[in-house]
């Protein structure tokens, strides 16, 4: 039989153990409880959550957080904190992009998805205000300070400046209206066009050729080559020009040209009939006779007519090749309704710009062009906050058992001593 003193120490030890277990249970429960942060107290809340890591953090936002908060939350999640968010109101999507036109005239195109009341500004002031929500686009000379301001936040496209581009385009093909009007459309848009039009093919090709068209193709000076038809006399080393960063457009049935066999983005599989009268419609290219194309494995379909691919592109080395499977596109210029000449020229310059390589790369993105999409991409969709239920963990059974056992031991010991 132990002495009374020893019993007393045993009881105290058991009570102490019970207290320690209960304290540990309390601390653990407190640590497991989610912290709720509202969107207007970012810096304090995120700072606190970083200094004392939490197992979970619930975020309530009434506007789309900026890139700093977004990155901070992603970092917390990466450090083990379960980050969830919800919004009591609908967060309207808004976004803004800025792309170089890549045309001789230079300039940039901004496109915005803006809710009603949003405004586009640059360093000089307001450029545009949305009376109604929806997508909108316009061209600017410079993108300095461009931003889309909405009630839900601000979108700033990454800084892009109008690139330096090679302005020379070579149009090669049999003499005909298609080659002639394509060259004229590009010249009208500001490209320096080298024409190389064959008039007789036998016994040797003889044609009308710009003096500069006798020079070798060079990506330093030439943006692109337009090969009109499969019987065009392809310039020497066309494939090398393409792989070195040049652009090549295969027009009409030029996808069948032997010189393009190794790198053509698509093969011709049949004809696609025109729709008479479509030049005056909203789909004027529907009026062209087309070639149905079968895209290569790594090719991208740029334009379709119903299920048929009509314009297809792919990368080859540093360059881009495109098949434009339309015939007699010149009819748009001549037979289309008022304004068709400008639209025809704009379409052709856009095609050439899309395959030509910009001489200057854009700086690293520094803005926040698509805040809501970036927010979703970083943190996923919203979740209903039921923090206590969702995050409450069962108490540690060892601690709980230890506390109960210690209390029972202490109680039994006291009872055996005749104490209550």
């Amino acid at each position: 039989m132990r002495s009374r003193t020893e019993r007393r120490w045993l009881e105290r030890a058991a009570q102490g153990i019970a207290l320690v277990c209960i304290a540990l249970l309390a601390v653990g429960e407190r640590a497991a409880a989610p912290r709720s942060v509202r969107g207007d107290a970012w810096s304090d809340a995120l700072g606190a959550a970083t200094r004392l890591p939490l197992p979970a953090l619930d975020v309530t936002v009434d506007a789309i957080p900026g890139p700093v908060e977004r990155a901070w939350l992603v970092a917390l999640r990466g450090a083990g904190t379960a980050v969830r968010w919800h919004a009591p109101t609908v967060l309207s999507p808004f976004a803004m992009t800025l792309d170089p036109l890549g045309t001789p005239g230079g300039g940039l195109t901004w496109r915005a998805l803006a809710p009603r009341g949003a405004a586009v500004r640059d360093t000089a002031g307001e450029l545009w205000k949305a009376s109604e929500g929806g997508p909108v686009e316009a061209t600017v000379v410079s993108g300095a300070g461009l931003a889309l301001e909405t009630a839900h936040g601000t979108a700033r496209p990454p800084g892009v400046e109008s690139p330096l581009i090679a302005r020379r385009v070579r149009v090669v093909g049999r003499a005909g209206w298609e080659a002639r009007f394509v060259a004229e459309a590009l010249r009208t848009a500001g490209w320096t066009v080298e024409s190389d039009f064959m008039v007789t093919m036998t016994p040797a090709p003889v044609g009308v050729r710009s003096a500069s068209a006798r020079t070798a193709l060079d990506t330093a000076t030439h943006a692109a080559v337009v090969l009109v038809g499969r019987d065009a006399v392809a310039p020497p080393r066309l494939g090398e020009f393409l792989r070195a960063g040049g652009g090549v457009i295969l027009l009409g049935d030029a996808a069948r040209h032997p010189a393009a066999a190794a790198w053509t983005p698509a093969t011709v599989v049949g004809a696609s009939p025109p729709l008479p009268g479509a030049l005056a419609s909203s789909s004027p290219r529907r009026a062209f006779m087309g070639w149905r194309l079968r895209p290569g494995d790594d090719a991208v379909v740029i334009e379709r007519r119903e299920a048929d691919a009509l314009v297809v592109a792919r990368r080859e080395g540093l360059g881009r090749a495109m098949v434009v499977g339309y015939e007699d596109t010149w009819r748009w210029q001549l037979e289309g309704p008022e304004g068709s000449s400008a639209r025809y020229s704009a379409w052709w310059t856009a095609l050439v710009a899309s395959v030509s390589r910009a001489g200057v790369t854009s700086p690293a993105p520094a803005g926040d062009p698509v805040p809501l999409a970036a927010w979703f991409a970083a943190l996923g969709g919203p979740e209903a906050v039921r923090a206590t239920e969702a995050l409450a963990r069962p108490a540690d059974p060892w601690l709980l058992g230890g506390a109960l056992l210690s209390l029972v031991v202490a109680w039994l010991s006291r009872r055996l001593r005749g104490l209550p």
Binding site: A175, T188, V199, T202, V208, G229, S341
Partner: protein, 203 residues
């Protein structure tokens, strides 16, 4: 690819159809000397008709005074603005003739002034080469008409390209014969028509 179609313009005033064999003769020459895709027959298109917009090359000739209607003027202006090429030939080869005076007035009103083309104009070397300017016609050399050899053509431009080419040389008479009879010529006198078409197709 649409073939080249030789179009003869029909206009309300005058005798637009005074050289009916020119089309066949030019088409024959294009087939002889080039690999261009050419429609086997020419077409007659009314000047004020929207159909003209389907054909970027047209030929206009006549002996009699020319007065375009408002519709013809508007149609011609639109067609030229959009890229059409018009070759006009005075079937009288006579600078004092009524065709010349009236056609020049009408063309100037629609297309602007028509100065003389330099002898080194690309038109004269678009396919065959004439380093001294346009080839002469037998009618000029025989002293018919105004008894002058017109050693120039005139032209109006649109956006830097020749849009209207005007001739006093009477190619309409020179080329108005059946193509089979070319075998009697030591040098085919329709070769300049090839230059006109090739120039239009390449500039």
């Amino acid at each position: 690819m649409s073939p080249f179609t030789f179009v003869t313009l029909q206009y309300d005033s005058g005798d637009w159809d005074s050289a009916p064999l020119v089309a066949a003769n030019v088409i024959d020459s294009l087939a002889r000397y080039t690999n261009l895709e050419v429609a086997p027959a020419g077409r007659v298109v009314a000047l004020g008709s929207p159909e003209l917009l389907a054909y970027p090359f047209a030929f206009l000739t006549g002996h009699l005074p020319v007065r375009f209607t408002a519709q013809e003027r508007a149609g011609l202006r639109t067609w030229l603005d959009r890229g059409g090429f018009l070759f006009v030939d005075d079937h009288n080869h006579d600078v004092d003739g009524m065709f010349h005076k009236t056609a020049m007035e009408e063309l100037a009103a629609v297309a602007g002034p028509l100065p003389k083309l330099a002898t080194n104009h690309p038109l004269y070397r678009a396919h065959f080469r004439w380093p001294d300017g346009p080839p002469n016609t037998s009618h000029e050399l025989n002293g018919w008409g105004d008894n002058l050899v017109h050693d120039y053509l005139r032209g109006a431009t649109r956006g830097g390209r020749l849009a209207v080419c005007y001739s006093n040389k009477d190619y309409s008479s020179e080329w108005n014969f059946h193509p089979d009879n070319k075998r009697f010529y030591a040098i085919d006198n329709t070769r300049f028509a090839v230059n006109l078409v090739v120039y239009a197709l390449t500039h």
